[in-house]
Point group: C2
Chain length 108, copies 2
Amino acid sequence: MRMTIPVAKVLAALLADPEDPRYGLDLMKLTGLPSGTLYPVLHRLRAAGWLTADWEEIDPVAAGRPARRYYRLTAEGVRAARPALAELRALAPDRGPSNVTPTGAPAW
Amino acid sequence: MRMTIPVAKVLAALLADPEDPRYGLDLMKLTGLPSGTLYPVLHRLRAAGWLTADWEEIDPVAAGRPARRYYRLTAEGVRAARPALAELRALAPDRGPSNVTPTGAPAW
DNA sequence: GCACCCTATGTAGAGTTCCGATACAGTGCC
DNA sequence: GGCACTGTATCGGAACTCTACATAGGGTGC
């Protein structure tokens, strides 16, 4: 499973509450990813065993909308996603370097 | 300039101390990126005006090694890199979700 | 009926990015 | 000559991203 920014966004959205499954359109709004990016990411994550995909069991006519497909991280997905996101977070320092003032001039 | 993880790693390495230029092999070690990834990234960043590349002025024979090419963030690069990295950091939560115990059982 | 827009999931294809392999060149050692 | 090391850099195929587009049913307006 190669880590990319779209993958990280999806994992972060699902990891916010691993017990709470999300569906595609929901994840599109949460992550800001277009469907053409999101769905391939979800398929790759599923192929890697990091998440499961289950169709909602409703009657689309009665509900007045198409059935959703709910995605939920597996135990393995949770285990793998956390250190991966932590590594990303480690790239960016708490605060920017402080030897440059807001005007752009060196602080010395 | 599209933000990707390799780009972010390079920016993070250079942003750690924007006054201190780095050369290729140095950045390979700092970021863990292979040369086939790093150099294209550096070229893209240079094309975008985010960094400058200057050859070290030494005599390779006297120095006993090839000349290095030093890369340094421009003012624009520093300005652009900081919010870009901050955005990456924002994707990853401070701490993992706390409603799951180490055993995997829900905390409630 | 028909033109839209909304909720949903998903594919097609062009362009971009990644990364292992390879190239090039000089130094040092045996 | 052969091998290791320090450097920079490209090639090419695989992988990834993302703008369109496809599909399909519901609802609204005319």
